[in-house]
């Protein structure tokens, strides 16, 4: 490994934090078993140990190919991922007890599946780190990625319901027992495409504009492809009844545009469009129905979840939201303790409502800690964006970090009643492979960019050995870049 003297890699800090995180995960699992079985099972330590090995593996990959990467990202994500596995296993244990079965095996149930998905996700993340030694290389495939992203998103919409529908939302590709949510991956691809496109056009976007109502609007033809892609994705999502993701893509688009053009007017336009769109969807839901009816129901529930009518409605009722809130309230400040609550009274507690289930057991203090972890991941990602020297890297890292933070806000805001509830996975916590894989790829990308940001200024953090391919010195196809200090 080639290291620059004086430039600290902080890899040992990462290892230490990782050990701490795994210790917490093991403690969580042990407490669950103590509460559920009155004593620890002989293999209580196995999930935490397996996770430790997996994360240690990724740590070694990082140590080898991205030595200057941010040391906080990996342990924070590992902690959340580990708590997720432990909590899903806790649900398996509760189900096993209800069904009068013995303790579930380490690899059985949703907890076991999540463990397996973690393995796959980490392999993908490691592969990404190994394959892409310089994040700028990705820009070569920007159009391909953008197109693939759109296609991936559209597939569930085109597929018949039997192959794509779960709980009323058409977001999946189901092949037998195997199902993936292509939208999760599309998110990464679209960020990359947006970033690439906006970097190429940023000069023209920020300079060649028409002034209207005191706001500078770029020329339509400069913005065309991005707007097209974005509108298209929104439409698809509306018809897939996935308004949460639509909101996410919207936020992603606006923020990338804002960062690229450095014009806050985009934020204002974005917010106006957003609230206008939401209100329009609400009105359409009340009058037209169709794909908007779902949104209308959710708005009603959000306005008054505790009304008898909303609680007892046959479809689109507030039962889940109310039970989640009651769970959070029952947890109070300190929580009932892992394994001592009853998260099973919240429907879909393993997916959308996992935060409510956790909140009952780890309380306000525990949730705040988790919230800080998410916060740190997003902020560290933004820091990598600020630190990295090329615009493409800035936009990709900024877009990814912001999207991650926004997703956490959208789902947590939804289950805590702050904003209308939209179906979203909680990154790294919720059960499900697609979300886990996509988000770990996102983290791998952030690690890669942070390596470039924190490493020596020779390119992507310095290749481990001189390869046949030389790292590009500038963005593929880009004009001369001027980076402001």
């Amino acid at each position: 490994m080639s290291r620059i003297p004086g430039l600290k890699t902080r890899r040992n800090a990462e290892l230490g934090l990782l050990a701490l995180a795994m210790l917490l995960v093991a403690a969580f699992g042990a407490t669950v078993e103590a509460n559920k079985y009155d004593k620890l099972q002989p293999n209580f330590w196995v999930p935490a140990a397996l996770l430790s090995i997996l994360f240690l593996g990724l740590h070694l990959v990082v140590r080898y190919v991205a030595p200057y990467a941010d040391p906080v990202l990996l342990p924070m994500v590992a902690l959340i991922n580990g708590i997720g596995v432990a909590f899903l296993r806790r649900i398996d244990i509760a189900n096993a007890i209800n069904d009068k079965e013995g303790p579930p095996g380490i690899f059985s149930g949703i907890g076991g599946r999540q463990l397996a998905w973690t393995l796959i996700a980490l392999i993908l993340a490691a592969a990404l780190l190994l394959l892409i030694r310089d994040h700028r290389n990705v820009s070569k495939y920007a159009y391909t990625l953008g197109l693939t992203g759109i296609v991936l998103m559209m597939i569930p919409a085109v597929l018949p319901g039997s192959l794509s529908e779960v709980n009323g939302a058409k977001l999946w590709i189901k092949l037998g027992a195997f199902s993936i949510q292509p939208g999760e991956f599309a998110k990464l691809m679209l960020v990359t495409f947006f970033a690439y496109y906006l970097v190429r056009k940023r000069e023209v976007l920020s300079l060649a504009s028409k002034r209207f109502l005191g706001i500078d609007f770029p020329r339509g033809r400069d913005l065309g492809p991005v707007v097209t892609v974005w509108l298209f994705s929104l439409l698809v999502l509306v018809f897939e009844k996935d308004l949460g993701t639509a909101l996410l893509y919207f936020g992603l688009f606006v923020v990338t545009l804002y960062v690229a053009t450095e014009r806050s007017s985009w934020l204002i336009i974005g917010l106006l469009l957003f609230f206008g769109g939401v209100y329009l969807a609400y009105l359409l839901g009340a009058s037209v129905g169709g794909p908007f009816a779902n949104f209308y129901d959710r708005a009603q529930i959000w306005l008054d979840p505790f009304s008898q009518a909303n609680y007892e409605r046959v479809s689109g009722n507030s039962y889940q939201l109310v039970q989640g809130l009651l769970g959070l309230g029952t947890g109070g400040l300190f929580g009932t303790g892992p394994g001592a609550g009853s998260p099973l009274s919240v429907p879909e507690v393993q997916n959308d409502f996992i935060f409510a289930g956790l909140g009952e057991e780890i309380g306000l203090f525990g949730l705040s800690a988790l919230l800080v972890c998410y916060m740190l991941i997003a902020i560290r990602g933004l820091r990598a964006a600020i630190g990295v020297r090329d615009s493409f890297g800035k936009l990709v890292a900024g877009g990814l970090s912001f999207t991650l933070g926004l997703q956490v806000f959208v789902i947590l805001g939804g289950i805590t009643g702050l904003i209308p509830l939209t179906g979203q996975t909680t990154p790294f916590l919720s059960s499900g492979g697609s979300s886990l894989m996509a988000n770990w790829l996102l983290i791998a990308m952030l690690l890669r960019i942070s390596n470039a940001a924190r490493g020596p200024a020779t390119g992507g953090g310095g290749p481990a050995r001189p390869g046949p391919k030389k790292a590009p010195t500038q963005l593929h196809g880009a004009m001369t870049e001027v980076i402001k200090p």
Partner: protein, 499 residues
Amino acid sequence: MNAPLRKSGVVLFVLFGLIFANLNWIQGYKADEYRTHPWNGRVKVAEYERPRGVIEAGGNALAQSKETDDTLKYLRVYPKKEIYAPVLGYKPVNLGAVGIEETENDFLSGESDKLIGDRITDMFTGEKTGGGNVLLSLNTDAQEVAWKQMINNERGAKKGAAVALDPRTGAIQALVSMPSYDPNQLVTHDKNAAAKAYKELNADKDQPMLNRALSQTLPPGSTFKVVVSAAALESGYGVDTEIPAGGVYKEGGAVIRNAEDEVCPGGEVTLKEALTESCNTGYAKLGVKLGAAKVKQKAKDFGFEESDLRIGNLESKDGLSVAASHTGDIANPDGSTDKSALAQSSIGQRDVRMTPLQGALIAATVANGGDQMRPYLVQKLLSSERRTIYTASPQKKSSPIDSKVAGQLKEMMVSVVENGTGKKAQVDGLTIGGKTGTAQNAEGADPHGWFIGFAFNDKGEAVSAVCVMLENVSGGHASAEAARIAGLIMKAAAGGGGK
């Protein structure tokens, strides 16, 4: 590009700050409200984590908790079904508890301060000790005889009530309300089945969930003559004082006749004979002579107009609530006494309304030498390891009459059973006294049959006082069947009770 990235970071800070603030609101400020919210099933699950205490009487478990395979670990079971339902009530999963299950809920659930020792022990052992046990004063023999005789009554009456209590202590020996219901169907963990059962019971026109012994007031008929007699004896009358009687008595618009022509047809009759034969004209005239104030006051002394009586645990204000009995207005619009109303009220008609419990209390007061004991149902509270935590110490409630008047009334009431209308109440080995009542109610409807009475054993101890009421008894002499049942209840109660 760094400036907008930094600002994006600020935006994320703000968004996360909103989430954090909202979590504080939910998990801090609103936590208690959510924790105890009726829609929060977790509270229920926790409540069913420990076995609820047993409600028992005379060595029999009347309500107990059975372990299940459910999420709710224990199922409440009432092995005697409808017999004890008016007393026990029930403890449903999704509705409020009723009866002793409600009034002793803290103790049964183990939350009572009296069980603090158990809870501290739990903290060290990690076990969940069950709730405390409630021992009722009920005499299971008396209760079961009462129930059996009521539902199999020889006149086919469908509704009624019976109360028996120990005149010396106030301990309730039996409390039956007919028709009744099976509490088991209301406490099932199947929410929908329980709700359906409740709906059906609630809609039943015979009101099976109404506690007729405590909550329903009906015209007491001639049993009210005991109260008028007490007022007369206190006003200088004697047992053998002759009072005017006759076949018919007209007062204002009211025409008072006797039940049959043979009853006190002559001009005068002694007070004792009047009660023995249940002479309506005599008592109507007597009431008018005494005046409304005296009659009303005496009824009040015995417990009429008392709206806050509860029977349960003598140490707490909780208990099954008892409806107030009323004498009604016996006045003209200008405030003067309405003599025709007074005449009718004096024989327990017009607006006089009485609960069966009140009837039993009148008889008990006479049997107990004039002292009325406060009625109660909870004899003992026991911890889960059966350590006695509370034992009822009987309390005198009031002294409506002095012992001399009580003795005279006793003599008159014994005469009713030995020589008069209450002969059916006679029981071998016991001295029974009492008063029958046949109460007219709605036009064309069959009258209600009443009997209030008491029993003395061969040692001269007042062992039981009772009131039996049957609604709408067909075929004349409505009270005779009530008297018969009352005798059998007292016979069973005399075998011991309240222990």
